[in-house]
């Protein structure tokens, strides 16, 4: 076995893992504060991807800069979805939330298909073809930028949650909703905010997906989102480090499986890992906490 190839697979895995980490972190945040399961989270990734491609198409500015715009756009869309769909059914049970997500998946996917068509599309990165030598490997510059951007976003989120007043209020709501209400925190505002930020993280993932040259269509989001749920089950509900480790693990496992067994196994391997883990530990690797 060639060490170079193994390293290459590892590197692809880390790059793919960045997308999962952003999705899983957003889901963790939403689950922590609202305790809801939104299986339609991947649709926000998809919208982020299309927003990025559309803005790029009309303005031609560096697509990496569009990440800010797509995140802001998705905060707004997320807030609307939370207000109209999830708030009315808050507390009616996880199954109801899942069923509602199915409705959302249909609406958002096909809404996107009406606006942008249902063909596979792709965008060319301005840094396409530029590689950076790292040891024996030639790593595309895009991959390195994506890793740095992901790390930057996570650091920003960490600082926001730990150091700002709103971040502290958000964590308080996620630890004890009633207690947070008692000390005067507007928990409904925290709901809408956490949902919006979660969507913005998905949008960032969507932008990174597009600028790295991967193809996208309106139906691309569902499976990554459900994998992101698998990641937070493995990594522990509400745990940021867990989401990072789980995301990287999934990215690497998938790319390894695709390399060694063929691309068709890419999706299946994630769920095989999930099922094996749940057979051994029905509450997830770091279970107990959460609903």
């Amino acid at each position: 076995m060639d060490v170079g190839i193994l390293l290459q697979v590892l590197f692809w895995g880390i790059y793919a893992g960045c997308i999962y980490i952003l999705l899983a972190t957003g889901l963790n945040l939403i689950f922590g504060v609202m305790k809801i399961v939104n299986f339609a989270h991947g649709e926000f990734l998809m919208i982020g991807a299309y927003v990025t491609a559309t803005v790029f198409f009309f303005t031609g500015i560096n697509p990496y800069l569009i990440i800010l715009f797509s995140m802001l756009a998705l905060i707004a869309i997320g807030a609307v979805v939370e207000r109209l769909c999830f708030r009315p059914i808050l507390g009616t049970g996880k199954l109801n939330e899942i069923f509602l997500s199915i409705g959302l998946i249909y609406i958002i996917q096909n809404g996107a298909a009406v606006i942008w068509g249902d063909k596979w599309q792709s965008v060319k990165s301005p840094y396409e073809g530029i590689t950076v030598p790292v040891g024996p490997l030639a790593i595309p510059l895009d991959y390195i930028i994506i890793m740095v951007v992901t790390a930057g976003i996570l650091c920003g989120l960490y600082v926001f949650l730990k150091k700002t007043k709103i971040g502290r209020e958000m964590r308080a709501t996620s630890q004890n909703r009633k207690g947070a209400m008692l000390v005067g925190i507007n928990v409904e505002r925290m709901d809408i905010l956490s949902f919006g930020i979660g969507c913005a993280l998905a949008a960032a993932a969507g932008t990174l997906w597009v600028v790295s040259g991967q193809v996208f269509n309106p139906y691309m989001g569902s499976i990554p989102a459900i994998k992101a749920f698998a990641i937070i089950i493995l990594g522990g509900l509400g745990s940021l480090p867990g989401a990072i480790v789980g995301g990287l693990l999934y990215g690497i496992a998938e790319n390894g499986a695709a390399y060694f067994f063929g691309g068709i196994w890419k999706d299946a391997i994630s769920f095989i890992i999930l099922i094996i883990v749940l057979i051994i530990r029905p509450t997830g690797l770091f279970g107990e906490s959460g609903e």
């Binding site: 399961v37 299986f39 769909c85 009315p88 059914i89 009616t92 049970g93 996880k94 199954l95 109801n96 939330e97 899942i98 069923f99 509602l100 199915i102 409705g103 959302l104 998946i105 249909y106 609406i107 996917q109 096909n110 809404g111 298909a113 009406v114 249902d118 569902s222 499976i223 459900i226 749920f229 698998a230 089950i233 067994f261 063929g262 068709i264 196994w265 999706d267 299946a268 994630s270 769920f271 095989i272 999930l274 099922i275 749940l278 057979i279 029905p282 509450t283 997830g284 609903e291």
Partner: protein, 319 residues
């Protein structure tokens, strides 16, 4: 389930059956007959999903059992030359066996973990179908499936329709008797409060597995019927759409009720085909999604609850 609560709805099943008996004569249109046949098959499928949900287990991967029943029945019928009317029950047994296996992983899980495992399971089955066992499944291209009845028989579509109608009625009757029996009581006890059920001497694992096996068996029959009706099977059968449809039908009609899947499937099929006539493609899905969310928020017990909901509102106004 509230068997009393949907009294009118259960009565309406008889009305539906009566209409279903004469429907083909009213139109005589083969295109419509095909839609009606598929609708019956989906009533069976939705009822199967509903039976599992009745035990508190919401599956997002029922296409797996639908498809396994279909593939197994196709392969058995093709290899043995037996009539599909016989092999659908064998194919469904394979689905039930796999259902027990996946049920074993699921019985101890939280409800939304279960949703993910079943969703993933359908993807795993599809992957295996197009990779490891391609020689017998034909990979992505699929394989031909023996028809229920030979097209040489005059009026075979009509005969097929009535045979499927009989199987549909039988399935609903069986599900009804399960729900009314002690098994049904145990299942709803587990769904409502597992701890109390346990205290009453009910073994949740045993009954959950039973629900999985029964639901997978009936879903397998539905899948086999569809494929023998169409005459061709591809791995698309394991797709997300086919996992979501029974969920949508049941939520729309009324979760955990006998009539819910029947009413939901009929109403949504009419809406779906109506929108198709209007020339909507993506728009159909959007409208179905919006309707689903409206029902979940404003009519949480589904369409079977509509008359009661209206009466409640009217009474509130008159006071």
């Amino acid at each position: 389930m509230n068997l009393k609560g949907d009294g009118w709805a259960r009565m309406s099943i008889f009305g539906v059956i009566a209409v279903a008996m004469v429907a083909p004569f009213l139109s005589g249109n083969l295109y419509l007959l095909n839609i009606l046949t598929l609708m019956l098959i989906f009533i069976i499928f939705a009822s199967a999903w509903n039976l599992l949900a009745y035990s508190g287990q919401g599956s997002l991967g029922h296409a797996a059992f639908f498809g396994i029943g279909a593939y197994a029945s196709t392969l058995i019928a093709a290899k043995s030359g037996l009539s599909p009317y016989f092999t659908i029950f064998l194919g469904a047994a394979v689905a039930a066996f796999i259902g027990i296996l996946i049920g074993l992983t699921c019985v101890r899980l939280k409800e939304w973990f279960l949703a993910m495992v079943t969703f993933g399971f359908a993807i795993i089955v599809q992957t295996i179908t197009v990779s490891l066992i391609t020689p017998i499944t034909g990979g992505w291209d699929g394989i031909a499936s023996p028809r229920l009845l030979s097209p040489e028989i005059p009026g075979y579509q009509l005969l097929e329709y009535y045979s499927i109608l009989i199987i549909t009625i039988a399935s609903i009757l069986i599900i009804y008797s399960i729900m009314k029996s002690k098994i049904g009581l145990a299942l709803s006890a587990i769904r409502e409060n597992e701890l109390e059920a346990r205290a009453a001497g009910i073994d949740p694992v045993k009954f959950r597995l039973l629900a999985f096996a029964l639901s997978a068996y009936i879903a397998g029959i539905a899948g086999a019927l569809e494929i023998h009706h169409i005459g061709y099977i591809t791995p698309e059968i394991f797709g997300v759409d086919l996992s979501f449809w029974p969920v949508i039908y049941v939520i729309f009609g009324g979760l955990g009720t006998l009539a819910g899947p029947v009413i939901g499937t009929i109403v949504l099929t009419i809406i779906w085909e109506g929108l198709k006539l209007l020339g909507l493609t993506f728009g159909r899905y959007i409208i179905i999604g919006v309707l689903l969310i409206i029902v979940i928020i404003f009519l949480p017990k589904g369409l079977v609850d509509l008359p009661y909901e209206i009466r409640k509102r009217l009474e509130r106004k008159s006071h």
